[in-house]
């Protein structure tokens, strides 16, 4: 571990010094600014996340410019608003590439917008390093210029929970399970994967359902599976339906031994206020980034973020965007080149240390790592599995509501 860190440090120093050397060699031309184009949802449905991505990108720009830019060129970001629209995002990238002639592009927010945007970038042979398009629609295009800067594709995000359950001695494992999931390409497939893994090892499915997105009232569904008293509840969810299920469970006085939701409990800022801080303990979720994560450079990132934007919760979209910048920075340093083709080739090999962990990709841009399993312990969210990244041991069974 220590050796690896030293090696990494040497590598970074070497990279920076070569960058400095080459900038010196290039003389006056090197000081010209280098434009990077990004389309973000600064208005519309995804504007909160779009702005979080912008904070991450801007912070990266400050950091990279403080270290001499890319091969000596100061970096300037050209950010256009796509109003959360998948058609606007296409024309934005068209304009950035053909009119503004930006040197590089980074991805927008969400799979919905990343999929069409990646196709545009691919047409012009631009590398498409993107922080927020991790759904099947993006990888389904099988583009070789895509690099998703999170540890795992979204639908694999709960595999880590299945691995944790199966790591338990048989006597402690749950015997029965319920899988209530949202009808959404980012939700129900996550739970399906967990179900397949657990069924294979003999954990019996007593209930599964997929409820439509417009279901605001989840109490009837919860009352149905509560009556079957499963040991484990795994929900492929977005935030709201997870909150609603938990509230209904509390009201129906049903507390399973293990409880996992793919989204909702992994939001440290919102979750306690939505279900009550006394009810969070023992609930599992998974995620790609946490403030206390031991990923390379994360501590410095968190400090720099607090300095620029103030203390307070960090939306994971910000470090995801920051990581996209880091990946480009490392690739430029490694190839000594600002050529998109060379960067694409380089990124398909090796692994890349970022605040999102050490990333590597297959040929279509799917990251080959694993998300972190997180659990609420004494009112705080901790990474608990796999062991090497854990900041707290996982605990089970879940205490009753209001306890622990």
């Amino acid at each position: 571990m220590k050796l690896a860190r030293i090696a990494l440090a040497i590598g970074l120093v070497a990279a920076l010094s070569t960058a400095a050397a080459s900038s010196a060699a290039q003389g006056s031309r090197a000081s010209s600014t280098l434009k990077i184009g990004i389309s973000l949802s600064l208005s519309g449905d995804f504007s909160d996340s779009g702005k979080a991505a912008m904070r991450g990108y801007n912070l990266w720009r400050d950091v990279v410019n403080a270290h001499g830019g890319l091969l000596g060129h100061p970096v300037k970001l050209k950010i256009l608003d796509d109003t959360s629209s998948p058609t606007q995002v296409v024309s934005n990238y068209q304009n950035l590439i053909t009119k503004d002639k930006v040197a590089f592009v980074f991805g927008p927010f969400s799979t919905l917008l990343t999929a069409p945007a990646a196709t545009v970038a691919n047409r012009y042979h631009y590398a498409f390093i993107e922080p927020a398009g991790g759904g099947p629609a993006v990888f389904g295009e099988k583009l070789h210029n895509v690099f998703f800067t999170q540890p795992a594709p979204i639908i694999d995000s709960a595999d880590v929970f299945a691995h944790y359950i199966l790591s338990l001695p048989k006597s402690l494992r749950p015997k029965t399970a319920a899988y209530p999931s949202l009808d959404d390409p980012f939700a129900s497939p996550i739970a399906d994967r967990v179900r397949t893994l657990l069924e294979k090892k003999g954990i019996r499915t007593v209930y599964k359902t997929i409820y439509p997105a417009e279901t605001t009232d989840l109490a009837p569904i919860v009352s149905k599976y509560a009556a079957m008293k499963p040991d484990l509840v795994v929900g492929g969810t977005q935030n709201n339906d997870a909150y609603a299920q938990i509230k209904a469970m509390i009201q129906l006085r049903f507390s399973p031994k293990f409880l996992f939701f793919s989204n909702g409990p992994n939001d440290p800022a919102e979750f306690p206020s939505k279900v009550g801080p006394q009810n969070v303990n023992g609930i599992f979720s998974s995620g790609d980034w946490f403030p206390q994560s031991k990923a390379p450079g994360n501590k410095a990132f968190v400090a720099a973020y607090a300095k620029k934007y103030g203390k307070g919760p960090i939306d994971p979209t910000s470090p995801e965007a920051f990581a996209a910048g880091q990946v480009l920075q490392l690739a430029v340093a490694k190839t000594h080149s600002l050529d998109n083709g060379k960067i694409i080739t380089a990124l398909h090999k090796g692994s890349w240390p970022t605040v999102e962990g050490v990333l590597r990709w297959n040929s279509i841009g799917e990251p080959q790592g694993s998300d972190l399993l997180v659990e609420w312990v004494h009112g705080k969210l901790y990474p608990v599995y796999p062991k090497k990244i854990a900041l707290h041991a996982p605990f089970a069974p879940k205490p009753p509501w209001g306890k622990g």
Partner: protein, 291 residues
């Protein structure tokens, strides 16, 4: 059986809240033939106001109704006086759709700018408590919400049935021209009725925030439900709206439990279509007289 009864309890409690929102909508339609598609947005606006009062000043959401409802009432009267009154009566139905739709989008836009798109929920200390009655769990907030809705509906009923103002409202619903001839101040009745109609949204909005997370875009889902409730109950009939809302709540909850949540909204719409085929005027709607 246990599950079905539990589902019916949940359904009735949920239906009560929808009944309140829909009663205002149907009242407004009855009095002035205005389909207020901003009703859902006003519910969400009220949910935000009561959330803000709770978060910043610790005002209980059920008490905040006393502050939010008059504000929304004033807003409603203002909107009626400024925008809706000037419509010529033969176009009022169509144009009012546009105006109230613009109002809905305006409210959504302002809320989006002020509060962003993050989902909010009003979490009181009793938000997750429940009573156990004969082995059935009855959520405290849902019961309170239901109680509040019943109370407001009773007030609304008394206002319409027992007061002079109520008589003028009903007269205007039944026959606007005769009401006018008999000295009813139709403009005043319309403005006040619009105000009252939207303040039911305010009361329901305060409790909506306690029951469900909401964001500025939540009103689209709401208004489609509310319109279907109003149509099923019979346009203009408050009692019909209440019956239809309760039916929707129960059908959806029972289907979700007994069959699958996938079919719950769908089966409500099947019932809606079936009833409209048999009774095109809805439960309590007056049959249109044809010549």
């Amino acid at each position: 059986m246990h599950l079905v009864v539990q589902a019916c309890i949940l359904g009735v409690l949920t239906g009560g809240v929808y009944a309140l929102m829909a009663s205002g909508l149907t009242l407004v339609f009855g009095v002035m033939r205005v389909i207020n598609v901003a009703q859902g947005a006003l519910v969400i606006l009220s949910a935000y106001l009561s959330w803000a009062l709770f978060t910043h000043f610790q005002v209980d959401p059920f008490l905040s109704v006393l502050i939010v409802a008059p504000l929304i009432f004033a807003l409603g009267v203002g909107v009626q006086l400024v925008f809706i009154r000037s419509l010529r009566s033969e176009q009022a139905e169509e144009l009012s759709l546009l105006i109230t739709w613009a109002l809905a989008l305006g409210i959504e836009g302002v809320l989006g700018a002020v509060y962003e798109t993050t989902y909010r929920a009003t979490n009181t200390s009793y938000a997750n408590s429940a009573w156990t009655i004969f082995g059935y769990q009855v959520s405290v907030v849902r019961a309170y919400a239901f109680g509040l809705c019943v109370a407001v509906l009773v007030l609304l009923y008394l206002l319409l049935a027992r007061t002079r103002f109520g008589r003028s409202v009903r007269a205007t619903v039944q026959n606007p021209s005769s009401a006018l001839l008999l000295g009813v101040n139709a403009d005043r009745v319309r403005a006040l009725a619009f105000g009252i109609g939207v303040s039911t949204a305010a009361a329901a909005g305060a409790v909506y925030g306690v029951l469900y997370p909401f964001n500025p875009g939540s009103h689209y889902d709401l208004i489609s439900r509310l319109l279907s409730i109003v149509v099923l109950g019979g346009l203009g009939s408050v009692a019909g709206a209440v019956a239809a809302a309760l039916m929707m709540g129960v059908v959806e909850a029972v289907v979700a439990v007994e069959i699958s949540p996938v079919w719950s909204s769908f089966s409500y719409f099947v019932v809606l279509v079936a009833i409209l085929l048999l009774r095109p005027q809805g439960f309590f709607g007056a049959r249109e007289r044809t010549l």
